[in-house]
Symmetry: C2
Subunit: 285 residues, 2 copies
């Protein structure tokens, strides 16, 4: 297999400026295609923006999966021969989700709803209940999680066990104090997530302050060793970060002659002892 | 609670030179105490060295937990008022383990046997079958894992769920190619392990080439945010790395007003979907 271009479209977004956000994302999708990308990752809650005052406001900017934002991405995927993975403020019946869609020329291939909600998101969104989808595309086997999900290694194992070669992660990483000379903690965790699973990860962040929240702007594409192939960037940079990835390298889970990061797991021990700890934890409440 | 000194005693060791290795470790334990440490972590397989030709050779250098190496650490723990966590090539009945002991003035508090064996270790040692012990000491709640165990986040969750404040990790990190400007991958994973569990980790590495294997010498002590408090060091440095740690900070698992890194886990989802993936994996073999 030859390498393919993977892009993170790090956009400047504004809460509620759906038209402006869509236009900014479309420009970056064109830039991704011009730079040879076959997969383009967009930020979390890309068209709507993030810092909603409450559920009602988020509901007002939410769309169904067959709404104009994803329809636009489908048109772009066809025009530009891209697989697009982007974050969507999703209405589905009466539920409101922080979702991400995987779209290619054929249409919507998968919808993922964020399971681990960050901070005030738990007051706004309904959490997802299903695992990261794993999608066979023309360029490789992709999966998707969203932002805070990346901090739960048990969750990141699922797409790895299901054979994902590239994990696409729309994120909105809030800027936190970081010691001088250190990368943002979120980037370190992406590196570790990739390395312990031997898969590629493309995390696409955003920039643009919003109601007191600033973002890291730390988009990064890492290889199965956890090493950055492109980025990490930092705010206020916006643009299209592209890395050439040989996705088939993620199929080889060996890290020494006798070690395979997935086969070396001891799931029966994890299950037995985690169950014990979780029961103890629940009993202690 | 006030802070306590935590030390990593990064020694130069030689396979089979048990007397020389014990003496080097004892000097470093004295240095740790002189520098105010109350907890001292030693490398993996500290007295025996690492690069055994085969099981027979390892067996020859192995000792029971009541053998001279651990007895010496007990004497040092009493003399120096230290909790010592060190790696031991352990004989137990007919079994041979890559183990670590937790020793304080009262004696051996816990023995842990490495579960995830690295490379040729699987030809030499019997894997452990029990989780990292969690030990209440005079200075805080400690746990212990060994080297490659750190690459299995499911395993690192166990001591975190059991309330460990400081995870002590005797390691022998083999030097691998690392891109310019990057930390060794093992260090990045320690940072992530600490951050996703909000606990301190002290990883004590070694130096000294041995039968073609070189070590990173990357001892590091990280805080619950995953930030290095001391180190990471690099070979050929040897000595006593000390950090002041307020271990009670590891009891607070909040990362935002609405988030707690342990309470935010979705264990019922992990169990259900990991079981499905593992069954699929086994069926595919």
């Amino acid at each position: 297999m030859s390498s393919i271009g993977v892009a993170c479209c790090q956009a400047r977004l504004t809460v509620g400026d759906v038209d402006g956000n869509r236009a900014a994302l479309e420009r970056l999708l064109h830039e991704a295609a011009r730079n040879g990308a076959k997969v383009a990752v967009l930020p979390e809650l890309a068209a709507s923006g993030y810092a909603f005052g409450d559920r009602e406001e988020a509901w007002a900017w939410a769309e169904p999966v067959d709404g104009p934002t994803v329809s636009g991405w489908h048109a772009a995927a066809k025009e530009l021969d891209l697989v697009i993975v982007g974050g969507l403020c999703e209405r589905a019946d009466g539920a409101l989700h922080n979702s991400a869609v995987v779209v290619d020329a054929g249409g919507v291939r998968a919808v993922y709803r964020k399971v681990h909600l960050w901070d005030r998101e738990s007051l706004i969104f309904d959490p997802g209940e299903t695992p990261p989808p794993v999608v066979d595309t023309a360029v490789g086997r992709l999966s998707v999680v969203i932002c805070y999900d990346l901090e739960f290694p048990e969750w990141i194992r699922l797409p790895a066990l299901a054979g994902a070669e590239l994990l696409c992660a729309p994120v909105n990483w809030p800027a936190m104090p970081t010691p001088a000379g250190e990368r943002a903690a979120e980037i370190v965790r992406v590196q570790a997530d990739a390395a312990v699973n031997r898969m590629f990860i493309a995390a696409c962040d955003r920039v643009g302050g919003e109601r007191g929240v600033d973002w890291v702007g730390g988009s990064v594409i890492v290889d199965p060793g956890g090493w950055p192939l492109a980025g990490p960037m930092s705010a206020p940079w916006t643009g299209c970060l592209v890395a050439e990835c040989r996705l088939d390298e993620a199929r080889d889970k060996h890290v020494s002659e006798h070690n395979d990061v997935l086969a070396d797991r001891r799931p029966e021990l994890y299950r037995r002892f985690v169950d014990r700890e979780v029961r103890g934890h629940e009993a202690a409440r």
